[in-house]
């Protein structure tokens, strides 16, 4: 297996805080690699170092074999960056933005224009080509930002929280695009706080928290690691919620969690199911929904870090 990105013990300090505390990564060529963690975990700092925008205080990293510090110019020729905030010029039109980047990277005027129009068409922005970006919707702007990072035909693409703040529909569109990209051989490093997003897109995930990688593996491996299933019970009457919670508490060592009208608890095996049904029946609780499923990455994160991701409600709602 070849690796497009290798990071070895990356450290970054901002004053007293250690944003990165020795991050190791190995991203296989042609895959989507998910960097998953809550706000402030160090995801963006890691991406900024790998994109040559920041220098590490310790450790080193290579992209396609080029050191990100000593051969930054080569790395920049191989990578594209889509930042957390749409980093295009809002006062220019969509096409002007793309042409500018093409011109800056040595394309002729005609080639830059053609490339820009191609990309706009691919991202369904051709109708907005000659409109100032400040009139774009959030989803359109994000697509333009992605298009901007593709002008140079990068082999490694950094997507730093590409769907944060997008509505579900725009998010689905973005996911489609990212899936399409890897089919072309591009290596994608995706940072996200949405566990569902990493689960859907990434072949491999590194979970980071407080500047360190706390777990790596495929989504399934990470789920298997907790060795747990999740039992979810939704009573027919909301008034029974407390009673359901009390019943569920009998099947777990951790406190049951109430999310909306559903009580969720991690359980050890399938054999609890008949007992749960009996106990609910004995208590005279009418059940609207009773499910037993594999843990989500969200629950994995909880078991790995002991705390929930800050955006878990948003993440599970997406």
């Amino acid at each position: 297996m070849t690796y497009s990105i290798i990071a070895d013990g990356l450290v970054k300090r901002f004053g007293e805080t250690r944003a990165l505390n020795g991050i190791d990564l190995a991203v296989p060529t042609g895959t989507v690699f998910g960097l998953l963690g809550p706000n402030g975990a160090g995801k963006t700092t890691a991406v900024r170092i790998l994109a040559t925008l920041a220098r590490p205080d310790g450790g080193h990293a290579t992209v396609c074999g080029h050191d990100v510090v000593r051969h930054a110019h080569q790395v920049r020729q191989l990578t594209g960056l889509t930042g957390q905030y749409a980093s295009v010029d809002e006062t220019l039109t969509g096409l002007e933005n793309l042409v500018l980047i093409g011109r800056l990277t040595g394309q002729t005027r005609a080639a830059a224009r053609a490339r820009g129009q191609d990309l706009l068409a691919s991202f369904r922005l051709e109708d907005a080509a000659d409109r100032a970006v400040k009139t774009y919707s959030g989803g359109m702007r994000r697509r333009l930002d992605l298009a901007a990072s593709l002008v140079t035909r990068p082999r490694v693409l950094y997507l730093d929280e590409p769907t944060t703040g997008l509505d579900p529909r725009s998010r689905n569109e973005m996911w489609e695009v990212v899936r399409g990209l890897t089919a072309t051989g591009v290596t994608v490093l995706l940072t996200t706080q949405y566990l569902e997003e990493a689960d859907l897109l990434a072949g491999e995930i590194a979970v980071i928290d407080h500047g360190t990688v706390i777990a790596t593996g495929t989504p399934d491996e990470l789920k298997a690691r907790t060795g747990a299933l999740t039992l979810a019970v939704r009573p027919a009457r909301a008034a029974d919620l407390a009673a359901v919670r009390a019943v569920a508490a009998g099947f777990t060592r951790t406190a049951p969690e109430v999310r909306g009208s559903t009580v969720a608890v991690p359980v050890t095996g399938e054999d609890v199911m008949p007992a749960v049904v009996r106990r609910l029946d004995d208590a005279g609780i009418a059940v609207a929904e009773l499910t037993l499923r594999g843990s989500t990455l969200d629950e994995v994160f909880l078991s790995l870090t002991g705390h929930r991701t800050e955006d878990e409600l948003e993440g599970s709602a997406a």
Binding site: G30, R48, A51, T52, L53, C64, G65, H66, H73, Q74, R76, Q77, L78, T79, G80, L81, G83, Q84, Y85, A86, S87, V88, D89, E90, T91, L92, T93, E96, L100, I101, R103, L104, T105, G106, D118, L119, A121, S122, F123, A132, A148, S149, L150, T152, R153, P154, R155, E176, V177, G180, L181, A183, T184, G185, V186
Partner: protein, 277 residues
């Protein structure tokens, strides 16, 4: 061969890594600077407010000062115009450096700078591109002030060469002062803070000079400052080159001021710029 998915031509996974260039060639850096100047000038097309900023505003100053204050300060609007046009040109150029700074701060704040820095382009191009574009805007503003001034009755006392030399001197001086503003932009990193700086520093600096009012009419303590004020020195040099009066001394002093600003602020600004980006 490019591979295509969903109509997106993305990358050539078999491209030889040997095709990479080790560094930006100087000529490419120059071209990138011009591309980024183009970008700053195209912004004007989409943002009419900016056009007002560097076209309408100087003309408004010219008209207001000449016809409202001119009679009171200079005896007649016409006499005042001969005195004040040089000052208005200097004042306008000085305030344009504020645009350089707010533009940079906006790019930093909005993340457009990160986009530029992630590209394989010369590190100096984003800064140089903006400075070149602002010099172009200033040249336009100076030309406009001159043309409208002449329509209003301003008479060049020297000749075309004098006017060209005055323009060049103003551009050189503003470029030097722009370094200080670049430093401010890098430290403030927010366009609003840059505006506040402009209001607190540039405004009093300009109005305590002889740009609009002869020093002799000021109280004694202010006269001392006004004579030393670099804005006065530059205004005198422009008057000498375009209208009449001493030339050598104010021009040399202006150039010394420009050199001092560059020596002090250019390294600081570049260092802040590098740290920032």
């Amino acid at each position: 061969m490019d591979s295509t998915v969903m109509g997106i031509t993305v990358s050539d996974s078999t491209a030889a890594v040997g095709a990479l260039t080790p560094r930006v060639r100087p000529l490419a850096g120059l071209r990138q600077t011009l591309s980024l100047s183009w970008r700053t000038l195209v912004q004007v097309k989409h943002n009419p407010a900016e056009l007002i900023d560097f076209s309408v505003q100087p003309v408004m100053f010219l008209l207001l000062f000449t016809y409202v204050f001119g009679g009171a300060i200079g005896g007649s609007p016409h006499a005042y115009l001969q005195f004040a046009l040089a000052g208005i040109i200097v004042q306008n150029s000085l305030f344009t450096t504020l645009n350089t700074a707010t533009g940079l701060a906006t790019d930093l704040e909005k993340g457009f700078f990160d986009r530029l820095r992630s590209l394989p382009i010369a590190r100096f191009a984003p800064l140089a591109g903006r400075m070149v574009a602002d010099l172009a805007k200033q040249t336009w503003a100076i030309a406009m002030l001159l043309v409208i001034g002449i329509i209003m009755g301003f008479r060049v006392g020297t000749g075309p060469l004098g006017v060209l030399a005055a323009t060049a001197l103003v551009l050189v001086s503003t470029l030097a002062i722009a370094w200080a503003l670049v430093l401010v932009a890098m430290l403030a990193a927010s366009p609003e803070k840059v505006q506040i700086f402009g209001f607190v520093v540039l405004f009093p600096l300009t109005f305590t000079s002889n740009a609009f009012v002869p020093t002799a009419s000021m109280p004694g303590w202010l006269q001392a400052w006004s004579k030393a004020n670099p804005v006065s020195v530059l205004s005198d040099a422009v008057r000498g080159l375009m209208v009449s009066g001493p030339v050598a001394r104010p021009v040399v002093e202006s150039l010394l001021w420009a050199a001092a600003f560059t020596v002090v602020f250019a390294p600081l600004a570049v260092r802040a710029f590098k740290r920032r980006v």
